[in-house]
């Protein structure tokens, strides 16, 4: 169905190499998320797979057949764009039907598929409206509807939730995940938001400057980040990195401790410091602790009811079994 394989793919814009040789396999039915900071090449990679950009060298295989020089329309992929890219002068019905009309499908079949897609996405009441009369979330669903009617081999999502407000984003995240369960089609999803990556993915691909830093399931990446970049990127708030004598005690150049793996106490602990900013989220409290002598600030997650204030001296104890060790090159020491 939708197994996508990239073999030694590179992309250059002029003399600038955006994607150095890259190998990646996305299995059929998998929900793969490309995540990385902006400008890391994740959108370019998606556009290469879509065929909207030509690859410079290498090969792209879809379902085991070479698709490197196949035009985008013939690759059997559907894409949801960041701006939704709905056709503003067409009704929702016509927007969703557009790919089918282009495929010269019979009108009866088109109607059937559009109705089916609309009912899956709760758009039945809006079929005769124009995109301009819809809310952001509804537009997003129309864009997804336009993708699913084609019954593609794989879906490509290019930061589809970045234009939505926070509450809607959480809702749409669930809807897309449910859609993936229902359709069991390969999905490739590009985002810069590691929360989206963690919550939706079967497989996360962490990219930096066009290079794949690590590929794995969300928990693999969380538990065993391969290097400092992945360690810092996955997990929120960010992992604390400590260098110097404290790291040397663990035979490492750098050690990483996640904020949630540090116990807080007002009386005793391995490290101590002064509370700077504290962020109360209700369920959790994040303390930014200064003057520990370890790093500029250490972020600690504590229970929501822990009531330290600005300027209090607190004591911290990391959980010994989840300390991540990295060597001088920033690579994980097993």
């Amino acid at each position: 169905m939708g197994r996508i394989q990239l073999k030694q793919v590179t992309k250059k814009f002029g003399d600038v190499e955006v994607i150095p040789p890259l190998d990646l396999t996305i299995e059929d039915g998998e929900f793969a998320v490309f995540v990385g900071p902006s400008g890391c090449g994740k959108s370019t990679l998606l556009r290469l797979i879509a065929g909207l950009e030509d690859i410079t060298t290498g090969q792209i295989e879809i379902d085991g057949t070479d698709a490197t020089n196949v035009p985008p329309a013939k690759r059997g992929l559907a894409m949801v764009f960041q701006s939704y890219a709905l056709y503003p002068h067409m009704s929702v019905r016509k927007n969703i039907a557009f790919p089918l009309r282009m495929a010269k499908m019979e009108q009866a079949e088109i109607d059937k598929r559009v109705e089916a897609a609309a009912s899956v996405l709760n758009l039945t009441d809006y079929l005769d409206r124009r995109p301009g009369q819809l809310s952001g979330g509804q537009r997003q669903r129309v864009a997804i509807g336009r993708a699913i009617v084609r019954e593609p081999a794989a879906f490509l999502f290019d930061e589809p939730l970045s234009n939505l407000d926070a509450a809607l984003r959480v809702g749409m995240r669930m809807e897309i995940s449910e859609l993936h369960e229902k359709l069991a089609t390969t999905m490739i999803y590009v985002t810069h938001d590691q929360v989206e990556a963690m919550t939706m993915a079967d497989k996360i691909v962490v990219l930096q400057a066009g290079v794949i830093e690590q590929v794995g399931s969300p928990l693999e990446l969380y538990r065993a980040p391969r290097n400092l970049f992945v360690a810092g990127f996955i997990g929120s708030p960010k992992m604390n990195f400590i260098e110097g004598p404290e790291a040397a005690k663990h035979d490492a150049h750098t050690i990483g401790v996640r904020p949630e793996h540090i116990a807080v106490s007002d009386s005793e602990g391995l490290w101590s410091g002064v509370v700077g900013v504290s962020e109360h989220l209700g369920s959790d409290t994040f303390f930014h602790v200064h003057d520990t002598g370890l790093a500029e600030t250490i972020t600690v997650r504590a229970d929501g009811e822990v009531g330290f204030r600005h300027g209090d001296r607190i004591h911290l104890t990391p959980r010994a079994d989840v300390i991540h060790r990295f060597d001088a090159q920033g690579l994980r020491i097993a």
């Binding site: 985008p72 329309a73 559907a78 701006s83 890219a85």
Partner: protein, 288 residues
């Protein structure tokens, strides 16, 4: 904050401008209306008194009226067709990234800066002259008989000259419309399996529809009034007498100010009908 005081100050400061504009518009309008109800022949007795709607009836029933209307429509329609079609094509072309884009765009706009009189004379003498014109040379080079453009194909020649003048305007407006199209829409259409021609028809053309309407309406208003191009080329002969030119002839050549004024009032009504549509569309554009 607009207080009572600042609002009245604003009114006082705007007053001179409003006054000048009103006088500028109202005096000629009133005079035209005034003369249109009079028999006024400056060289043949001057003001010969009120005649009611006589001039209006005579203007419409004259044998020159309907041919003039037809000529006007042919010129306006022909120029609109040429400028819109070529304008769309040129705009598509200029939207492509290419070397020397800035210079090419300025060159495309250039004809718009040439005065109508000058451009018509240049066309008449340098291109369309049956003896020394470039076209005549070109025709002779291929062994054909040179065409006397302005007498044998007079209407077509005038449409050509005016189209050349207005093409830059259409191109510019349509180019900005194309440039405002979200490229993701085109990419989405490409992924949806639309080949280039269908992308043009289903995505680009609907996106430009409002710009096309504006081009058509603005040009119509100006094209209804073209005069210089006809004056310096055919002088209204060979079936190139438009409504505007007819009015001119009535007033200045026949020295019948009353009759010409009545024609002028017809022209005002016509232009205002077009302007009404234009304002509604432009207004809608500003709201959106």
């Amino acid at each position: 904050m607009a207080t009572q005081h600042s609002r009245s100050a604003a009114r006082i400061m705007m007053a001179p401008a409003v006054f000048v504009l009103l006088v500028w518009m109202l005096v000629p309008l009133t005079m035209t209306l005034y003369f249109s109800f009079k028999k006024y022949l400056p060289l043949r007795g001057g003001d010969l008194g009120w005649v009611g709607f006589d001039n209006y009836v005579r203007f419409v029933t004259s044998s020159a009226f309907w041919p003039a209307v037809q000529t006007t429509l042919v010129i306006v329609g022909g120029v609109l067709l040429i400028t819109v079609v070529l304008g769309i094509l040129l705009a598509l072309l200029l939207d492509q990234p290419m070397w020397g884009q800035g210079v090419v765009r300025i060159l495309v706009i250039a004809p718009f800066f040439v005065m109508p009189t000058v451009s018509a004379l240049v066309w008449k003498n340098m291109f369309m002259d049956p003896v020394n014109g470039l076209f005549a040379h070109l025709w002779r080079f291929f062994g054909a008989e040179p065409v006397s453009w302005l007498s044998d194909a007079s209407l077509a020649s005038i449409i050509m000259i005016v189209s050349w003048q207005w093409l830059p305007f259409a191109t510019l407006i349509l180019l900005t419309a194309i440039q405002s199209l979200d490229s993701e829409q085109l990419e989405a259409a490409e992924m949806d399996g639309a080949p280039p021609l269908k992308r043009f028809y289903h995505i680009i053309l609907p996106h430009m529809s409002r710009a096309i309407t504006i081009v058509i309406l603005i040009q119509t208003i100006f094209l209804l009034a073209i005069f210089a191009e006809i004056f310096v080329t055919t002088g209204g002969a060979f079936g190139t007498r438009t409504l505007t030119y007819l009015i001119y002839q009535r007033v200045l050549e026949s020295q019948n100010v009353g009759l010409g004024s009545a024609g002028g009032v017809y022209a005002i009504i016509l232009a205002n009908i077009v302007a009404l549509f234009l304002m509604r569309i432009v207004g809608k554009n500003l709201d959106a």
